[in-house]
């Protein structure tokens, strides 16, 4: 996990609408990550069509020093993690764990009865932001993420 440097976490709805985009790396503008998140939609859909069993889609593409990883839930919610990679091997297991945490955070959020799942609006939730922030900064959430799935070997 140590070598994973998350620059951005993005969550995209099933209509390819952005739900949440968080930039952790000040070296690029938010706009860049918005573009990247948007462009990943195609790649993810193509990738997901090829193999349906795993939600983790691996590295989608690399652009300059940014590598984009994707994960798509069964409800076609897309999670994107943009890593700033210089030259390291990124273990899939690590990435999967990150995505599981994001997934858990999202599920937590979506379980809120007041959250309209199909509203296509950006997610605004303090709790959710905290959780994503913790994931993005590579630390455990204070008090732990109660819903995080246990990390199992694939």
């Amino acid at each position: 996990m140590a070598n994973i440097n998350i620059s951005c976490i993005a969550i995209i709805g099933k209509q390819n609408n952005p739900l949440y985009i968080k930039n952790f790396n000040p070296s690029h503008a938010d706009l860049k990550y918005h573009y990247i998140a948007h462009t990943s939609c195609d790649v993810m859909e193509e990738r997901a069509a090829m193999k349906a069993q795993d939600m983790y889609l691996g590295v989608l593409f690399s652009m300059e020093d940014l590598s984009v990883y994707g994960y798509m839930t069964n409800t076609k919610i897309k999670f994107i993690a943009v890593l700033t990679v210089h030259d390291v091997i990124i273990k899939d297991l690590d990435m999967k764990n990150i995505f599981r945490r994001i997934h858990a955070a999202y599920v937590n959020h979506a379980s809120n009865p007041f959250y309209e799942i199909d509203s296509e609006k950006m997610i605004k939730s303090k709790k959710f932001e905290q959780e994503i922030d913790a994931i993005g900064r590579g630390r455990a959430l204070e008090g732990g993420n109660r819903n995080s799935l246990p990390a199992t070997a694939p």
């Binding site: 390819n16 948007h38 691996g58 990679v85 030259d87 091997i89 990124i90 899939d92 297991l93 296509e120």
Partner: protein, 1382 residues
């Protein structure tokens, strides 16, 4: 042959599969270039016009060049691996103009084989030529072969065989694989021949290159060691320029050549090995000092050789990458490529051409571009890009390389951190060690939890590289611009300054000036765009398009840029990527401003005002201010002229204000006002709209244009006074949003605008909802729909209309394609709300409350019906009674403007559609009653086509339809007869009439419905008490049937004259009951009762009542729960006959007791004089009934005595009773017949006195045919003393009685309990006999206690004559002692 010469850059075919050779056709005069040895031998070294060795002074490489493309060209085009001479065999016929043509010297060829000397001459020279060529080829190791082409004439020549043999032998050619004869043939044969020829020569070719590789390997190994040959002393005296090629350079040369030859051999594996080795050696020459040749200085930057070496390295790298791709090792290829970039980045920094120089970026861009080209060509030629699959492959990394490259003095090639990468300079310093792990992509890699991917080594398609290249191009331009700023003069060489110690050279500056960077960027981006398009990455193309647009913007091509922005904005808008959209809008605004497209600027600014566009508040404010200043400032550059009206379809862009119109009700009526509300709500929360935005007008367009509404606000911007006289209310809701309500239902039709118009203030305030309520009054029948809402801003120069078409219209209007442009939110319209104004009636001025009420969905369009002006009223006195003909007066008023003829239908809706209803609705109750009694009555629930005529006029039976005059009332009374079920009935009356509308010729039928409910309740309620009478009671009554009443228990056989049945006297059991029936008028209406009669059930069949003529003798009964009683009756009739029970009426209770206590005779009175029964009146009827049971054992528990038939009608107070008498049958509770089991009666004195003993006589009857064994216990009572047997067992014979006398002594006054006599039947014996095992199981003792009941007891606590329950004790009223009273 040449056609197969498809030389392309990408040629990944191996062996015999593809085109085998690169074929170079040459003229017949062509000779192989002489070998160096030959030249040396012949001392013609100066003739070596093209010696490419750096040793040769004439060579371009002299003195220290490495290799030249000429060398490659030579081996590609001049020195073959197989030399094939294609020659013609001389033919006589080819000598044109010769008279002897076609004539041999000898007319015939003799068997001796005499040879034609001419032919021989030619053949010899041919052979000689071939021989020469063969020799030259052999010197070079080139395989030589000859193809002799024969002419058609040769085919018939018998000597041809010999000639060919001669030529072959003379030239010293082997018959196998060296000498071919091609007879004349067609194209197909020739091409087959060519293929075969190539096949056969393939091995020779391979051998040639193998030899070449071997030769150079040998040469290379002969070189002195690099460490040993530090070229001592060479450098000083050589004077720099005369420096000869180092050993390392020679090594490189040989490696490169071997690589080249291996490539020619199509031995890619080895080729890549050699090339990589060469690459390593070459790279080592760039740093300041070489590691391979210790101490040797690197190439001087910016020299010719340095530049050449750089290009060479680039080419080599590309070659290596390509071969890795050939070998299907994309990661390795990418690895090499990236490594190259990293290495040269480090070098560039050392050359002071780091990433702040345009030269570096130019170079980098070129690298990316070329690599992209390579991939592009490769993929087009069938190369498959890898798909990175998670969890499978471990790729190598550049671990340590970047770190190593930073320290250039130590940088030694690439090998500093070679551990993880598995490559680098080996200890021997001569070659790369090909790392196993780097090639992981080739071998499959390691699986497992540790699997991972170095994302930098995932090969992607060319689009990414073009994009990278474009990025480089952008950087290059920026750097160049900086440089040009510093050194603007193209004639003066840049001079180093303190801030820029290493300026670019003048040459490179000028070269750079010639380049159109932006065009290059656009070209690259376009290339990338095409790549992504081919890979179906639509969104990536959008991204690239935005970059292209940005580049166009930079290039000043604003129009192009704007076009791009507009195109791509749509997708981002649709998918809600608002940050991107904002950026695009900002760019667009800039472009539009530059172009002076102010309409566009306004459009973009309006969209920018949407709260969905993320922006800071200051930015929002500036957008808002800019918009206002454009719109309202006259001196703004935008406002040099009056602009065209600008129409913005708001659903296609993000809007700052939402706009909804709805009607209050789903239906409206012609000529009556129908309310609608327009809600303008700012989007987003607080601060989304910085200031109030004033609209000039709001236009609501309906499907009927005559109803259009236009609200105007003519105030100039600086005036804020309240506008218009409309009523305004405002409040804040929970979220702090201001809700303003304006009543605008008083609009005036404005002929100029052709709309209903009113003047009203139209400020859209921040965080508020403006609700304008209006009303429209349509004039014809139609479906009204809101087609469009337009918010307009009109200033001197501007006329902007923000259009909100309602969704249905928009979808109808343009086709499916453009629907995609709608914003997602507007596809799901919010719930319809209606702002309701509720006022306190007392204090209307201040405390009007505004509240949003949800309306039901879907009433976006209001179907408008013609309102029927007919009024329907109904008059009736609810509740109605069951069974009666209930009059309902229906009054219809013609409210239309002209007389109409109306028809009315009346329908009585069934209570339960699944059950046939017996309810009926009639016009004439008397007639109905007659038909009822005649049995021809059909219950009808509907009445059709009642012609309505003026009130008071008699019902006309004629079919002439009379028109009802305007404003007149028609009246019609209908009678509803409901049976049985006391529930409300729904009655629907429909009035139909036809009117001709003013403007239309055709008549339109109009219908008005009126439904009402009538509650039906039963008119009477009856309760019966049965009191058993002892025989002596019947004796006292002494009626005409007294002799039967006096029949003793044991009577001799008698024949019943009525039934003709023989009653077995021994078993006959007679009981006499007094039926006391109380009939209660339940409803609120008085009724007149004509007759009340008890109909004994057994008689009902024989009775011929006028009203009971229905089917089954009960159809007209109309009693409560008719079907129930019918069933019961049948049941009873059967059972009564079977069990021989007879019910007789002994005493007719035609005597009634009314509420006043006066007796009066019901029957016989004249109808009009009947006294009404008021509501709640109670009448009691007494009947004496005798029940004769043939066998009590067989008798049922309950016996239906019959029912009470009441003939009655509703009493009208005015005495005008028009309704006929109707019959209601009131069913009576069944009589509970005593069971055939022992019972007890008690005979008590009327009263008793305290302290006076009295005798109570208990009589125990055994009506059964069995002897009963009874256990008697006496329980003491508080108020009485009893002395006697407390416990006894009795045995009573069948049909016998047993008397018990008890002498009691009352102790207290009042109602006092007698000592309780408890009799228990011991049923042990019958149980056992019948074998009731279940009973025995439950009662192991085997006997059941059955309490003997006492009949006809006065209950304790109540004077009313109710029957006693089980276990009751008898009570007696004990009077106080007379003495004590006194």
């Amino acid at each position: 042959m040449l056609s197969r010469n498809n030389v392309s850059y990408w040629d990944n075919t191996k062996g015999l599969a593809g085109s085998l050779f690169y074929v170079v056709p040459e003229q017949a005069a062509y000779n192989l270039p002489p070998t160096r040895r030959f030249l040396q031998q012949t001392n013609q070294l100066h003739l070596a016009q093209q010696s490419l060795s750096p040793t040769a002074p004439s060579s371009p490489l002299y003195p220290d060049g490495l290799i030249t493309p000429l060398w490659i060209r030579r081996h590609r085009e001049q020195i073959p691996s197989v030399f094939i001479a294609v020659v013609d065999l001389w033919d006589r016929e080819s000598i044109v103009g010769n008279a002897d043509n076609g004539q041999r010297g000898f007319s015939d060829k003799g068997p001796l084989g005499v040879v034609d000397p001419m032919e021989r001459d030619h053949d010899t020279s041919l052979a000689q030529d071939l021989l020469e060529r063969r020799k030259v080829s052999q010197e070079r190791g080139v395989k030589f072969a000859a193809v002799v082409m024969l002419q058609r004439s040769h085919m018939e020549d018998p000597s041809i065989e010999d000639r060919l043999n001669f030529v072959r032998k003379s030239a010293g050619l082997d018959i196998k694989n060296s000498f071919y004869v091609l007879p004349p043939s067609n194209n197909q044969e020739i091409s087959d021949f060519a293929v075969n020829l190539q096949r056969s020569q393939y091995e020779g070719s391979m051998n040639y290159y193998k030899e070449q590789v071997k030769r150079h390997k040998k040469k290379r190994s002969n070189l002195p060691s690099t460490t040993a040959s530090v070229r001592p002393g060479q450098q000083p005296h050589a004077g720099g320029s005369q420096q000869t090629l180092s050993v390392q350079g020679w090594m490189f040369r040989y490696d490169f050549k071997m690589g080249m030859f291996s490539e020619c051999k199509q031995d890619i594996d080895n080729a890549v090995k050699f090339y990589e080795s060469a690459y390593g050696l070459l790279i080592d020459m760039f740093p300041v000092t070489s590691t391979i040749t210790p101490g040797a200085p690197g190439l001087q930057a910016r020299t010719r050789r340095w530049a050449e070496a750089k290009v060479l390295a680039d080419c080599l790298c590309l070659k290596i990458c390509k071969f890795h791709l050939y070998l299907d090792a994309p990661s390795t290829a990418l690895f090499n490529f990236r490594r190259h970039l990293i290495v040269f980045k480090a070098f560039s920094e050392s050359w002071k051409m780091g990433d702040d120089s345009f030269e570096y970026w130019a170079w980098l861009g070129k690298q990316y571009r070329v690599f992209g080209d390579l991939l592009d060509i490769g993929t087009k030629a069938g190369f498959k890009l890898p798909i990175p699959s998670p969890g499978s492959v471990v790729y190598g990394s550049f671990a340590g390389m970047t770190e190593g490259s930073k320290d250039l003095n130590k940088f030694s090639g690439i090998g500093v951190g070679n551990g993880a990468a598995g490559f680098g300079v080996g200890p021997s310093g001569d070659a790369y060690v090909y790392g196993g792990s780097v090639g992981g992509g080739r071998g499959g890699g390691t699986h497992g939890p540790g699997a991972g991917v170095n994302p930098m080594l995932v090969l992607q398609h060319a689009g990414y590289f073009y994009h990278q290249s474009a990025n480089c191009s952008v950087q290059r331009r920026l750097r160049f611009e900086m440089a040009e700023e510093a050194y603007p003069d193209s004639a003066v060489a840049p001079v180093p300054t303190s801030s820029r110690p290493y300026p670019p050279t003048l040459q490179s500056m000028n070269a750079e000036r010639a380049i159109d960077h932006l065009a290059l960027t656009i070209e690259l981006l376009t290339k990338s765009y095409e790549q992504f398009k081919r890979h179906k990455a639509g969104r990536m193309t959008l991204f690239l398009a935005s970059e292209i647009a940005g580049t166009y913007y930079t290039a000043g091509k604003f129009e192009m840029a704007l076009k791009f922005f507009e195109r791509i904005g749509k997708t981002y808008r649709k998918e809600g990527w608002n940050l991107i959209l904002t950026s695009i809008l900002k760019w667009s605004i800039q472009c539009a401003k530059e172009l002076g497209f102010w309409e566009n600027v306004v459009e973009y600014l309006i969209e920018m005002m949407s709260p969905d566009m993320p922006a800071t508040e200051a930015k929002r404010l500036s957008v808002f201010d800019e918009l206002l200043s454009i719109l309202h400032t006259k001196i703004h550059p935008a406002n040099t002229s009056v602009h065209k009206p600008l129409v913005l379809p708001m659903p296609q862009i993000n809007s700052f204000v939402s706009c909804v119109v709805q009607f209050q009700t789903k239906q409206a009526f012609v000529a009556s006002a129908s309310k609608f509300q327009l809600q303008l709500a700012t989007q987003g929360g607080q601060g989304a709209l910085p200031k109030s935005f004033r609209l000039s007008y709001v236009l609501i367009e309906f499907s009927d244009p005559t109803l259009n509404h236009r609200f105007e606000d003519p105030r100039p911007l600086d005036r804020t006074d309240v506008q218009g006289s409309s009523e305004r209310l405002s409040m804040k809701d929970r979220t702090g949003r201001t809700v303003e309500w304006i009543n605008c239902d008083r609009c005036v039709y404005d002929t100029e605008n052709k709309a209903w118009k009113t003047i009203v203030g139209l400020d859209i305030n921040p965080h508020s909802t403006l609700v304008i309520e209006g009303a429209l009054t349509p004039e014809k029948e139609q479906i009204i729909q809101v087609t469009k809402i337009t918010l307009g801003v009109v200033t001197e120069q501007w006329n902007i209309a923000l259009e909100y078409p309602t969704i249905e219209c928009a979808e109808e209007g343009d086709q499916a394609g453009s629907q995609l442009n709608y914003m997602p939110l507007q596809k799901n319209p919010p719930r319809r709300q209606w702002l309701e104004v509720s006022r306190d009636p007392e204090d209307a001025s201040s405390s009007a409350k505004l509240k949003f009420k949800h309306l039901d969905k879907g009433a976006k369009r209001a179907p408008l019906l013609r309102e029927s002006k007919v009024e329907i009223q109904t008059l009736f006195k609810s509740p109605a009674y069951l069974d009666e003909f209930f009059p309902v007066v229906i009054k219809v008023r013609n409210g239309e403007a002209f007389p109409v003829a109306m028809e009315m239908d009346v329908e009585l809706q069934p209570i339960d559609p699944s059950i046939e209803s017996l309810d009926s609705v009639v016009l004439d109750p008397h007639a109905a009653l007659k038909s009822l009694s005649a049995g021809s009555f059909q219950a009808a629930q509907t009445l059709h086509g009642i012609h309505l005529s003026k009130a008071g006029r008699p019902l006309s039976s004629s079919s002439v339809v009379q028109d009802l005059a305007v404003g007149e009332w028609a009246e019609q009374t209908i009678f509803v007869k409901a049976l049985e079920i006391p529930t409300p009935r729904t009655i629907v009356c429909k009035v139909r009439y036809e009117v001709s509308l003013e403007n239309e010729q055709k008549k339109s039928s109009t219908e008005k419905q009126h439904a009402f409910r009538v509650q039906f309740i039963p008119p009477f309620d009856a309760a019966v008490d049965y009191t058993p009478q002892l025989v002596h009671v019947s004796e006292t009554k002494a009626t005409q049937e007294s002799e039967t009443a006096l029949v003793p228990i044991l009577q001799s056989n008698v024949v019943d004259e009525k039934y003709g049945a023989v009653i077995v006297p021994a078993l006959t059991h007679t009981e006499v009951y007094l039926m006391s029936t109380r009939v209660n008028n339940e409803g609120p209406w008085p009724v007149q009762v004509k007759e009340v009669k008890l109909i004994i059930g057994s008689e009902s069949t024989t009775l011929s009542e006028p009203s009971a003529g229905g089917r089954d003798g009960a159809g007209g009964l109309g009693g409560l729960s008719r079907s129930h009683s019918i069933g019961r009756m049948r049941d009873r009739k059967k059972s009564l006959q079977e069990v021989g029970i007879r019910v007789e009426l002994l005493d007719d209770g035609s005597i009634g007791l009314d509420g006043t206590g006066r007796f009066f005779e019901v029957s016989g009175d004249s109808e009009s004089n009947l006294r009404p029964w008021r509501s709640g009146n109670l009448q009691t009827f007494n009947h004496l009934v005798r029940v004769i049971a043939a066998d009590l054992d067989m008798a049922p528990e309950h016996i239906e005595i019959g029912y009470l038939r009441v003939q009655w009608r509703r009493f009208e107070d005015d005495g005008n009773a028009t309704a006929p008498f109707v019959v209601t049958n009131i069913p009576l509770q069944p009589l509970e017949l005593p069971k055939a089991q022992p019972y007890m009666t008690v005979d008590l004195p009327k009263d008793a006195l305290v302290n006076r003993p009295f005798t109570a006589r208990y009589e125990i009857h055994n009506p059964t045919g069995k002897t009963q064994e009874l256990a008697m216990t006496v329980e003491p009572s508080e108020g009485m003393v009893y002395a006697g047997v407390m416990q006894a067992t009795l045995r009573i014979l069948p049909f016998a009685n047993y008397s018990i006398r008890m002498n009691c002594y009352p102790l207290q006054a009042g109602l006092t309990r007698l000592p309780r006599v408890k009799l228990v039947i011991n049923k042990r014996k019958p149980n056992r006999r019948r074998g009731q095992t279940s009973h025995q199981l439950q009662h192991p003792e085997g006997h059941e206690e059955v309490l003997v009941k006492i009949r006809g007891l006065t209950k304790m606590g109540g004077p009313q004559n109710t029957r006693t329950g089980p276990g009751e004790t008898a009570v007696i009223f004990v009077k106080p002692e007379t003495g004590s009273l006194e």
